[in-house]
Amino acid sequence: MRYLPLNAEDRAEMLARAGVASIDTLFADIPKAKRLDHDLDLPMRKTEMDVERLLSGLAAKNVAAGSVPFFAGAGAYKHHVPASVDHLIQRSEFLTSYTPYQPEIAQGTLQTIFEFQTQVAALTALDVANASMYDGSTATVEAVAMARRITGRSKAILSGGLHPHYAEAVRTVSTMAGEETEVLAPDVFAAEDFCSLIDADTSCVVVQNPDFFGNLRDLSAIAATCKTKGALLVGVFTEVVSLGLIQPPGAMGADIVVGEGQSIGNRLNFGGPYVGLFATKTKYLRQIPGRLCGQTVDASGRRGFVLTLSTREQHIRRDKATSNICTNSGLASLAFSIHMTLLGDAGLRRLATINHAHAVDLADRLTAVPGVQVLNKTFFNEFTLRIAGDAAQAIERMAEMGVLGGVPVSRLLPGRGLDDLILAASTEINTDADREAFADALQGALSC
């Protein structure tokens, strides 16, 4: 087998050197009755060529974003990632190294984490960021848990503009942990008012911006109320590119900011792996979940980096840890950091502006389609359409016409009377022709 260096001769010699009679001797602790004495009912080994054929066959059954006009968003966005990013994250020394537990031979990984932390803190306008979470949704779960630890209160209030998957994850995990969560009704028009809901048992309010429906939200008022009431404000984003153009949650008073970093450096991957971003204020440093990289010096006085403040973490603090996270999103955070390094402020702002321009153009084109209404007053690169018909059906029909025309709100919020809503996103990858194709397809779908 091509991945196994030992051959039969090696095995025999090694068994002899180890002083055991046969390989099965080494498995003697397995109760005899439970030992497998036959191959499992699975195929036998395959050549590389055959594996390629089989998997390419499966891949070919899917419609890839690059092959059709594509407008799906709702928390995962198709952006253009420079070829150099993928090349760099495939460097053996990044790809096949472990968590940097031996810092003297892991400075590459450590310095990139330090840079990542700095980038995330700057983007979110907060003091300090960690080395990444699994994704935006689990980062949100962690943020709520952290807010509970800090405030000693239970109730988390989740905005009706929070991504429904995020809200469900927070609700599920909180419920299991015996904590209280209040999930507000879907808030298509960003009209909800939290302030009256925040009480003495409120640990935090979780608000997304741009929200799930694409609306931009000014968090300043909520932040002020939270402050007064002793609750924390958790700012969430699912489209990190927006931070190039809109006010970051940190600048509007959020205490913890979490979000999805997939848009920068990472592909859609059918939902994962992605990368969760997590930032907060210095005063909450010791409550941060996950890894932190810090600067120090070596014995010769040279600058170097190490994982630090690990007394917060599971491997030291065990059941008292700030989180159970161990493996995080290392390579995806590296991809994020490399892409962000290529962009810089100027590139990010330009990218965000193009996204916004494309979305504005799309909104204008779709508004012109009979039976279609854009519901947003403000948005970044995604907005909500109300159509004269069933959104899921329209999208299915458009797919048959070769256009992936957004996400039906009902897929995430079924049974909420929102069956006529579509979330449509336009990033830098869409051309004029793509957007025109979308308008045409939607018109077609609605008229059949």
Partner: protein, 517 residues
């Protein structure tokens, strides 16, 4: 900008100073914040035609100040940094409990097929049937390999799988109306830190179970601790000392008899795949780290994937999403309302598809026969290392064979005054990544070596011979190899205390470190 840490270098390498601080191919590299500028960029984007924005009053006021680098500068920055890392591709990476095996590049290529990498989690399911089939097939392999009835695919890593498993158990207990009474989870002291953390995160109280002198769990000790307040036991098998829990079947029965569930930490599944099935051993739930057993790359810390296989008892409580085969193909059940009684949802979307593709490519490549062979080779390699070192080093649980990893402790180092850490750092100078040290906590100064099946005999021979050389050097008092080691790595020993005492967690203009002298 000139970056020449001249002063510090003088200290670092008195034998041979350079002006740059570089040493041949070992090239120093500054931070992007020192070399980049916010007005520069390495990405060309056409300026959009003027348009009326729809941002309301929420346009960003203060730029983030992030530096940009041109593409050639970016390339160099990361290539130089990468060269300061050790990697499986460069040598044995014998971190016990981490299963640092070969990461086939076929898997990387497959995961990058546009049909997998460029599909959106929420595009119509009719347009992603190939992806759903792959997930279903991978799930089937996992169930057959483990002898279990269901699998929750969405957990992002091992710890997330543990959390998922604990919550599933909690839901099952709640469904039985015992939610208020069963609050305790038994966790051996040798357990990985994520186990107690995951149990606690799900609102359980963690109670330790001690091991026998032979390093395995005593059914009697378990029985003693079981009761109507116990929700589950969380065992690792093979355990973190590299030993198979030989009384596992009995323990499982005891747990079940007491009305509790048996969660198995499957991080060490590599040792037993194709040799026995956790389902047959009585396990109710177990996560599998695809980034260990099934070769998806660790990537300097992730991402991984931690699917959780479940027994039929627990299957109904699995979180969404899951797959259903219907007339028109596979369909995702995505909303808790469609799965009443289920746990709910633990994260967005459907799981780590990119890792699924890699893991499935690995499984297909090995087949049932190859996976069993891999397990056997992994165990053989560990025992070969053990045989080569056991006369010099001390074993906390006596002279016995191990599974896929061998545990030594620092007892043998005591007379020398050296620690496991000193020994590990001296290995770095010899070109080896150290083993896991100080874990599991049940051994004093643990040194846990997991070679994996990816090492050749020649590689192990050199590894063993070098560790012997070092051990003998330690015993004869050749302190210069250990004191302050490593000496030949990109950095000498780093001051971790200082890092924690006054944390510098991001670059700031003012935070430039001045050399200690």
């Amino acid at each position: 900008m000139l970056m020449r840490p001249k002063e510090s270098i003088e200290v670092a390498v008195p034998e041979k100073q350079t002006f740059t601080g570089n040493r041949g191919l070992d090239i120093e590299e500054g931070l992007i914040f020192e070399t980049g500028r916010p007005e520069n960029t390495g990405v060309d984007l056409d300026e959009p035609a003027p348009f009326a924005h729809r941002l309301g009053s929420l346009e960003r006021q203060e730029p983030a100040g992030l530096p940009g680098l041109s593409e050639p500068e970016t390339m160099r920055h990361y290539v130089r940094l990468s060269r300061m890392n050790y990697a499986i591709d460069a040598g044995i990476y014998p971190l016990g409990s981490c299963t640092m095996k070969h990461n086939p590049r076929l898997n990387e290529a497959m995961a990058r097929l546009p049909g997998f990498a460029d599909i959106h989690p929420l595009q119509p399911q009719s347009t992603v049937q190939g992806a759903l089939e792959l997930i279903a097939e991978l799930a089937r392999w996992l169930m057959v390999l483990t002898g279990m009835d269901a699998v929750a695919m969405s957990p992002r890593a091992g710890a997330h799988g543990e959390a998922c498993g604990m919550m599933v158990i909690k839901a099952a207990i709640a469904a039985k109306g015992e939610g208020e009474t069963r609050k305790i989870v038994l966790v051996p002291e040798s357990a990985h830190g994520t186990n107690p953390a995951s149990a606690a995160g799900a609102g359980f109280e963690v109670r330790p179970v001690p091991a026998r002198p032979d390093g395995t769990l005593d059914p009697a000790a378990v029985r003693e601790r079981l009761g109507p307040d116990v929700a589950a036991i969380m065992l690792t098998n093979p355990n973190t000392c590299g030993l198979f829990e030989k009384d596992i079947v009995e323990i499982a029965s005891l747990v079940h008899e007491a009305g509790a569930y048996f969660y198995c930490d499957g991080a060490n599944f590599n040792a037993i795949m194709g040799k026995t099935r956790p389902g047959d051993l009585g396990v109710d739930a177990m996560h599998i780290n695809l980034h260990k057993t099934f070769s998806t790359p660790h990537g300097g810390g992730g991402p991984g994937a931690g699917p959780v296989v479940l027994s039929s008892l627990l299957a109904p409580f699995a979180p969404v999403p899951f797959l259903r085969r219907e007339e028109n193909g596979l369909q995702l059940v995505e909303h808790p309302s469609e799965a009443p009684g289920a746990l709910g949802r633990i994260a967005a979307f459907h799981g780590q598809m990119g890792m699924f593709v890699r893991a499935f490519a690995y499984m297909l490549s090995h087949g049932a026969d190859g996976l069993r062979q891999a397990a056997e080779d992994a165990v053989l390699n560990a025992n070969y290392v053990r045989a080569g070192l056991k006369d010099l080093m001390s074993e906390p649980f006596g002279d016995r064979t191990c599974m896929h990893e061998v545990l030594f402790d620092e007892g043998w180092l005591k007379p020398t005054g050296l620690t496991a850490l000193d020994f590990a750092k001296a290995m770095i100078d010899e070109g080896f990544h150290p083993m896991t040290i100080y874990f599991p906590l049940v051994a004093h100064g643990a040194m846990l070596i997991e070679p994996t099946e990816s090492e050749s005999k020649a590689s192990l021979d050199l590894f063993v011979a070098t560790l012997r050389d070092l051990a003998l050097a330690a015993k004869r008092g050749a302190m210069e190899r250990f004191a302050g080691a490593p000496h030949l790595a990109p950095r000498s020993r780093l001051d971790e205390t200082r890092a924690a005492r006054s944390p510098v967690l991001k670059w700031e203009k003012k935070s430039k470190i001045t050399p200690l002298t």
